[in-house]
Point group: C2
Chain length 222, copies 2
């Protein structure tokens, strides 16, 4: 296993967790690599028994591959939590630093960090951290979770999750002091550009559709 291969596994897990079927073209777009390069790597990973692959018929993570991908995701999210809680990193820097380190963390180190952080279930963005057995902790309130862009005018809830990979987005949120746990109210929606107006902490804010798509709130949690 090297860094590139681990990145492929992570991306495939990512696609599968969103309920989609991973294809050569989705990976090609996601990793900014030509389709033929993807095919080549998919073959290699299936030879390593990390993917189940039938020519022309598609591929998916094997049990072994899924276990490994979840382990990498676990290390990524544990490391983000460590950077945030212990080293006081800002939100926007977490993802990039974790991308580098997730590949280097040994099982031993993983356990020690887990212990230091007191076995966290969620990372600083509100994403669940896969546990040692590979299971994702489920918040019992998950049934009240809504993507902010889908919430109607007047709806409100507490911020529980933000997507972690756009640096400028996270920078912006941190700058305006919007954090996990804040109460958000949808004040207005505009057909133009699908923008929406929200309030939180007595502040009013206009969010683009893109932003609202990457924010999850827990409704009726007041």
């Amino acid at each position: 296993m090297n860094v590139t291969q681990e990145d492929y596994l992570k991306s495939i897990l990512n696609i599968e967790m969103s309920g989609q079927q991973a294809t050569v073209s989705t990976l090609s777009n996601m990793l900014h690599v030509k389709p033929s390069s993807v095919t080549e790597m998919v073959k290699k990973l299936s030879e390593l028994d990390l993917l189940l692959y039938k020519k022309y018929k598609g591929f998916k993570l094997s049990p072994k591959g899924k276990t490994l991908a979840l382990k990498i995701l676990r290390r990524h999210r544990l490391w983000e939590t460590f950077l945030y809680n212990v080293l006081n990193y800002p939100w926007s820097d977490l993802h990039g630093e974790a991308e580098k380190f997730e590949h280097l963390i040994s099982s031993n180190m993983e356990s020690r960090i887990d212990e230091l952080l007191n076995y966290p279930a969620f990372d600083p963005h509100g994403h669940p951290i896969p546990q040692k057995d590979g299971l994702l902790p489920l918040n019992e309130r998950v049934k009240f979770y809504h993507v902010l862009s889908q919430v109607e005018i007047g709806g409100q809830g507490t911020l529980v999750q933000v997507s972690d990979d756009s640096v400028s987005f996270l920078d912006y949120l941190e700058q305006i002091d919007l954090s996990i746990g804040d109460l958000i109210t949808v004040k207005d929606k505009r057909n133009f550009d699908n923008a929406m107006e929200i309030t939180f902490k007595h502040k009013t804010l206009l969010l683009t559709r893109q932003m609202a798509d990457n924010i999850i709130i827990d409704v009726q949690s007041t």
Copy 2:
């Protein structure tokens, strides 16, 4: 700069700090690499202005190379200190883990760790940690430091430093509970194999010459 190149710089710094002149053959032995590979890399590093090099005449770190090598050494020792103080790693695992991470630590992370550890001057093995300006902190008692193998019968002092790269050696010291700060007394020396007998914490121990060469004590510190 990649990992291999950084390892070359570190080794050269290592040799120079011990007062020797780095040569192709010393590096070749140290890195378990053929002399021609060393020459190739030395040429590359000198093109990067990290080494001053004249064919057949030898080479040494340039100011720029020395700064970089000290930065890597700083990160290595800071990371060891972090693993020991924060993650409770045993002595013997520190070096190996630090070898991996020293290449990934950014300036930002370096500062944060430095702060977390409260700006340490020495690592868990007692080695000085190069400071941000590249200077090595000097213990004012350094004039009382002696390599244990050179100490005469009856001499005693506190343990201040152990070499950090033999896993089994460190494992052994930890197992018998010999730690930095312990008072050591030389009880006997044997011509045979240059072994020496010491006592500490009411225990008696026979050390090989190799071991005693890698232990530094501060004499008359009682």
